[in-house]
C-alpha cells in the first residue's frame, strides 16, 4: 500500500483541478480512500506538490527497424550523450535516438509512463516487439502502417470492404499492433515508381485507387472493429505548401468518422509569394474546432538537433535533396517504405522559424485541449526530452514572446503568434500530456487517478519556471512502485506491450496465404509475431 497525501491533484478526467487529495495505491492500481489501509501504507507527503497521472505520449518513434537504423547511422548523435551502468540499470547512449534502456529511463525521468510507437511495418513487427522487451519503464503499443498496403488496396479496387476489414483485423492480431497507422496514403507506393501523390483523388500506380479511398475505408474499418484508437493519419503533402488544404480536405472526407491527425504542424502550410510557406494554422485549427470527431497532436519543433524518420519515402528523399544531409531509405515489400535524414532546426533559419510558430499557433488556436495533444513527433521535430520547454512555451506568453523575438525576421513576418495571448493552465497541461492522449487512445486505465487506474503517477514541485518543474519530477511511480526521485531513476521495472485483438472471419486466412505465396519473400506461417516475443503484455479490449 502506498499513499501520496496532501498533494494538489490535477486529474482532469475526474474533474479535479488542484484540490488537495490523497491518492492510494494497492497492487499497482489506484484504489478509493475507503480501501486505504493508512496504518500499513508507505506515505509520500506531497504537501505543496503537484500530483498528476503518469504522462502518455500518443506519437513517438522510439523502437523498431526505422529507429534502430537511425541509431546505427548516426553515431555522431550518441557521442557525449551517454549513461553509465549502475547496479540497478543498464548503460546506454544517444540523444535524438537513444538506445532502448536509456529511452525508457529518460521518459520515466520526465514523468512519462506510457508511449505509443508511431509506425511499424507489418513485416518488421517482430523487430519492434524485440526492442519493446528491452525498453523498460514504459507501457507501449505499436501503430501498424497500412496506408500503402497492397492487400488493402486490392480489396478497395475490387469493391470488397468487408474483406479489407477482416484483413486489417487479422493483421493487427498477426503483428500484435495497437492501431491503424496511415502514412502518405498511396504516396509511398508511388515512391516505388519514383513518384508521389499530391491530391486526395490522385491514382495509386498499379492499383487504380486513391488516397481518399484508402483513408475513408480504413476510418470505417477502425470504427467497425471498435478499435480503441481510430485511424492515426499522417496525411499527404507533408511539409508542402498544399498541405493545409489537403489536411482540411482529408478531415472533411472522414464525414464525421473519428480520426487522429498526427504532427499537424508539418501539415498546416499554404502558399505565399517568395520561397517561404505560409502558416495556415488559423484555417486548420478552424477545421479541427469544427470537427469534434478529430483529435490531433502538434509535432512542435524544438530548435537544435533532430532526426527525421517517417514511413513517407518520398518525403525523406525530398528532405535529403533539400538539406544535402545523408539519407536512409527502406522500401518494404507489399506494405510500406520509409526513410531517415538528420536535421538541425535553427532560429536563424526562416523556414524553421515558420515551422516553430505554426506549431504553437495550432496549439493556441484549437479551443479544446482534449483534442490537441503535446508531441514533438520525437525525434522528427525534436527529441522528447524537450517537452518541458514546449510546456513552458504554452504556459508562459512572456517566454514565448521573448523566444519569438530571437527568430529569423523573415520567418516572423506576418505571424499571428504575437497576437495569441492564451496561456495553458496546469490543468490544460495535464490534459494535453496525459488525460487527452489516454482518452484519444482509448486507454481506460491510463491518464487519470480514479479508482481502478494503473498506479502510474508523477509528482512535480510547483515551480514558477514551468520548464524546470516538468523537467525534474520529484517522484515518478510506475505500477505502484517509486521509480524516479528528484528527476533521477532509482529503480528499473519492465514495461508492458499494449495490443488489440479484434475478431475476424477465419476464412480470410486462405486469401492472405495465397497473397503471401505470390508476393512475399517469407512464408505466411512465419509472419505472425510469436507470443514469446513479448512476455510482458496486456491486451486492450476493443470498445
Amino acid at each position: 500500500m502506498l499513499g501520496i497525501i496532501n498533494g494538489k491533484v490535477y486529474d482532469p478526467s475526474n474533474g479535479i483541478e488542484g484540490q488537495v487529495r490523497d491518492i492510494w495505491v494497492r497492487d499497482g492500481r489506484i484504489v478509493s480512500a475507503r480501501e486505504a489501509d493508512r496504518g500499513k501504507a508507505e506515505i509520500i507527503d506531497a504537501s505543496g506538490l503537484v500530483v498528476m497521472a503518469g504522462g502518455v505520449d500518443i506519437h513517438s518513434h522510439v523502437v523498431g527497424s526505422k529507429v534502430n537504423s537511425a541509431r546505427k547511422f548516426r553515431p555522431e548523435d550518441h557521442y557525449g550523450h551517454t549513461r553509465e551502468r549502475t547496479a540497478e540499470t543498464r548503460s546506454g547512449s544517444g540523444f535524438t535516438v537513444p538506445s532502448t534502456f536509456l529511452t525508457g529511463y529518460l521518459y520515466a525521468e520526465l514523468g512519462y509512463t506510457t508511449v505509443m510507437e508511431a509506425a511499424t511495418a507489418p513485416l518488421l513487427a517482430k523487430h519492434t516487439h524485440e526492442e519493446l522487451e528491452d525498453t523498460p519503464m514504459l507501457d507501449m503499443g505499436a501503430f501498424i502502417t497500412m496506408g500503402n498496403n497492397h492487400f488493402i488496396m486490392e480489396c478497395i479496387r475490387d469493391g470488397l470492404p468487408e474483406k479489407a476489414r477482416d484483413y486489417v483485423a487479422w493483421l493487427l492480431n498477426a503483428t500484435r499492433g495497437y492501431a491503424i497507422k496511415i502514412v502518405n496514403p498511396g504516396g509511398v507506393e508511388n515512391w516505388k515508381w519514383g513518384r508521389n501523390v499530391g491530391e486526395l483523388d490522385d491514382e495509386v500506380i498499379g492499383f487504380g485507387v486513391t488516397p481518399r479511398q484508402i483513408v475513408t475505408t480504413l476510418a470505417r474499418i477502425a470504427e467497425e472493429l471498435d478499435l480503441p484508437h481510430p485511424i492515426h493519419v499522417h496525411g499527404i503533402n507533408l511539409g508542402r505548401s498544399t498541405s493545409a488544404r489537403t489536411t482540411i480536405e482529408t478531415m472533411a472526407a472522414l464525414e464525421g468518422r473519428r480520426g487522429h491527425f498526427c504532427h499537424l504542424q508539418f501539415l498546416s502550410y499554404g502558399k505565399q509569394k517568395g520561397t517561404l510557406h505560409r502558416s495556415e494554422a488559423l484555417k486548420v485549427a478552424a477545421a479541427v474546432n469544427a470537427n469534434p470527431n478529430i483529435t490531433v497532436d502538434i509535432g512542435q519543433i524544438v530548435f537544435g538537433e533532430a532526426t527525421t524518420m517517417t514511413s513517407d519515402g518520398p518525403l525523406q528523399y525530398g528532405i535529403h535533396m533539400q538539406t544535402g544531409n545523408k539519407w536512409m531509405n527502406d522500401d518494404v515489400e507489399n506494405e510500406t517504405g520509409g526513410g531517415i535524414v538528420p536535421i538541425r532546426y535553427s532560429r536563424s533559419n526562416a523556414i524553421n522559424a515558420v515551422m516553430w510558430r505554426t506549431g504553437l499557433e495550432l496549439a493556441l488556436l484549437i479551443d479544446d485541449p482534449w483534442r490537441v495533444l503535446l508531441t514533438t513527433d520525437h525525434p522528427n521535430a525534436g527529441p522528447f526530452m524537450h517537452y518541458p520547454q514546449v510546456i513552458k512555451l504554452l504556459m508562459d506568453r512572456g517566454y514565448r514572446a521573448a523566444m519569438f523575438e530571437t527568430l529569423n525576421p523573415r520567418g516572423r513576418k506576418g505571424a499571428m503568434l504575437p497576437e495569441l495571448h492564451r496561456e495553458y493552465s496546469v490543468q490544460d497541461i495535464a490534459v494535453v500530456t496525459r488525460a487527452g492522449p489516454a482518452r484519444a487512445l482509448g486507454l481506460k486505465n491510463k491518464g487519470h487517478l480514479g479508482a481502478g487506474a494503473d498506479a502510474d503517477i508523477t509528482v512535480y514541485a510547483d515551480m514558477e519556471d514551468r520548464e524546470e518543474m516538468f523537467a525534474r519530477p520529484r517522484y515518478v511511480i510506475k505500477d505502484g512502485v517509486v521509480v524516479v526521485i528528484d528527476g533521477a531513476l532509482v529503480r528499473e521495472r519492465p514495461g508492458k506491450t499494449l495490443y488489440v485483438a479484434p475478431a475476424y472471419a477465419p476464412g480470410i486466412e486462405a486469401d492472405i496465404r495465397e497473397h503471401f505465396r505470390k508476393n512475399y519473400t517469407i512464408s505466411f506461417d512465419n509472419f505472425s509475431v510469436h507470443p514469446d516475443h513479448f512476455p510482458h503484455r496486456e491486451m486492450v479490449q476493443c470498445r
Partner: protein, 424 residues
C-alpha cells in the same frame, strides 16, 4: 517414426530461406528438402546428442564450467566478447548484457566482413529495400564484388535473378544482370554483361560512374581496366531502368579503400534516385549477422566494435575491433559466442586468443573451441531451438526448432554466467 516439419528457416547465410522442409527420425534430421548444398549441412551435419562442457581439455560438470567462466570474466581487466552472428537474437541480447555488466569490449563478425559497409552507411546513408521489392520490381541487377552463385546459393531463385515477381512475371527474361568483379566467377557466368575491374580499381570505377551520372566530362579512355564508353553506356541504362539494385560484397569491403569504396557505391545509388528508383543490398554472410548489428545497436547505439570498459558504450572501429584488440594484446580474456576466430583471424590475433583464457559457446567443437579454456556445447538455433534471426535485408524471422531442445541454449549459458558473475 517419421515427422515432417515445414517452413523451417535455414541459418547458413543471410538469405535465411524459410521454406525448408525437414524430416525427423529418431531425433535426428534424416532428410532436408529445398535447402541448398550449403544449407543442407546445417541440418544434416549437426549432432544434437548432449555433450559435456570442457575445461582445459577435460570434461567437466556444467556448474563447474559456469563458475570457471564467470571467474575468468569477472577477474579480467579487459575482457573481449566476440562472434554473435551465428547465434539467435535472444543470446545476442544476453551477450551484450554480460558485456555491460563486466565492462567488456564487444565485437561481431561484421568487423571482418561488412564492417566497412556500416562505416559507409554512417557517412553517406544507404538507400535500400527489402528483398521482396527486388523480387517484385527490379529489372536491373548489378552485382559488385560478390558471388552469390557460390555463397548465397538460392539468392537468384528466391530474391533476384530468376525469381518471378509481380512486375517481372517472366523472372530471368524480364531482368538484366550485370556483374563487376576482379575475376570471372560463377556469378559473372550468369550475367548478361561482365565488367572486369583491375584489382583495387573499384573506387576509381565507382567515382567515374558517379561523375558520368552527373553528366560530367571525363578525360580518360578507360578506368580500372574498363573502357569509358562501356561505363557511359551503362549509366544510360541505369538511369532508364524501372527499379535498379546493387548487390555488394566483400570484394568492395575488404579490398583497397574498403569503406570508401562502399561510400562511393552508396552515394551513386542515392544519386540515381534523381532519375529512377535505385537501391543497394549488402550481401550479408552469416545467418544472423544482421541481427547482431541490430541487437548491439539497440542496446549500445553502435553496430560493432563497442567498448563498455568505461561503464558506458564507446564506439571505435580499429580501436575496439576484435582483431586490433587481440593483436595489440589488450584483451586478457575472451568469450567467443558462435564463431570460430582461430580459424579466420590473422595469425597474430589467433595466437593471442590461445594465450589468454578463452571461453567458447558453440554447437560445434570448432578450432577455437579445441584450444579454449572453457567450452560449452550448446544447441543449434533453427535446428533444435527456437529463436529470432535477421535476414540480410533486416527482416526478422522466427526460427523453428525441428528437434526437441535437449542441449542448453546459448542464451541459458550466458544467463547462468551473468548470474555467476554477479555472485563473484
Amino acid at each position: 517414426m517419421k515427422r515432417v516439419v515445414e517452413n523451417v528457416t535455414c541459418t547458413f547465410c543471410g538469405c535465411l530461406c524459410d521454406d525448408i522442409i525437414v524430416e525427423v527420425e529418431d531425433n535426428r534430421i534424416s532428410r532436408v528438402r529445398k535447402a541448398c548444398a550449403n544449407g543442407r549441412g546445417v541440418f544434416l551435419d549437426y549432432d544434437p546428442t548432449p555433450g559435456k562442457p570442457v575445461i582445459d581439455g577435460r570434461e567437466a560438470e556444467w556448474e563447474d564450467a559456469i563458475a570457471e567462466a564467470a571467474k575468468v570474466l569477472a577477474r579480467a581487466d579487459s575482457p573481449l566478447i566476440y562472434g554473435l552472428s551465428s547465434s539467435a537474437c535472444e543470446a545476442q541480447r544476453k551477450a551484450i548484457a554480460l558485456a555491460d555488466l563486466i565492462g567488456a569490449i564487444v565485437d561481431t563478425t561484421s568487423s571482418v566482413c561488412h564492417g566497412p559497409t556500416g562505416l559507409a552507411m554512417q557517412a553517406v546513408g544507404e538507400p535500400t529495400s527489402s528483398l521482396g521489392e527486388i523480387r517484385n520490381r527490379a529489372d536491373l541487377l548489378i552485382f559488385w564484388g560478390c558471388n552469390p552463385a557460390a555463397a548465397h546459393l538460392r539468392h537468384f531463385e528466391r530474391y533476384s535473378l530468376n525469381a518471378e515477381g509481380t512486375l517481372v512475371p517472366n523472372g530471368r527474361r524480364d531482368r538484366t544482370m550485370i556483374v563487376f568483379d576482379v575475376r570471372p566467377t560463377a556469378t559473372s557466368k550468369a550475367a548478361d554483361e561482365f565488367f572486369q575491374v583491375l584489382p583495387d580499381g573499384d573506387f576509381e570505377v565507382l567515382a567515374v560512374l558517379r561523375a558520368l551520372v552527373q553528366g560530367k566530362r571525363i578525360g580518360l579512355d578507360s578506368v580500372g581496366g574498363i573502357p569509358l564508353e562501356r561505363l557511359r553506356d551503362l549509366t544510360g541504362r541505369m538511369k532508364k531502368c524501372r527499379y535498379g539494385v546493387f548487390f555488394m560484397g566483400m570484394g568492395l569491403t575488404m579490398s583497397r579503400a574498403r569503406d570508401l569504396n562502399v561510400r562511393e557505391l552508396f552515394s551513386l545509388t542515392a544519386q540515381l534516385n534523381e532519375f529512377t528508383r535505385f537501391t543497394v543490398m549488402p550481401m550479408r554472410g552469416h545467418g544472423n549477422v544482421a541481427g547482431a548489428d541490430q541487437v548491439l545497436t539497440w542496446l549500445s547505439g553502435y553496430p560493432f566494435a563497442v567498448s563498455f570498459a568505461r561503464g558506458y558504450p564507446q564506439y571505435g572501429p580499429g580501436e575496439f575491433s576484435a582483431v586490433d584488440v587481440l593483436v595489440r594484446e589488450e584483451a586478457d580474456a575472451a568469450l567467443i559466442l558462435a564463431s570460430d576466430p582461430a580459424a579466420h583471424f590473422p595469425r597474430a590475433a589467433a595466437m593471442q586468443l590461445k594465450r589468454i583464457p578463452t571461453i567458447v559457446i558453440d554447437p560445434m567443437l570448432n578450432l577455437t573451441a579445441e584450444t579454449a579454456h572453457v567450452y560449452f556445447p550448446t544447441c543449434c538455433y533453427g535446428v533444435d531451438a527456437e529463436g529470432v534471426s535477421y535476414r540480410m535485408d533486416n527482416v526478422p524471422i522466427r526460427l523453428r526448432g525441428a528437434l526437441p531442445t535437449v542441449r542448453p541454449t546459448d542464451e541459458s549459458i550466458l544467463d547462468s554466467i551473468i548470474e555467476a558473475v554477479k555472485r563473484c
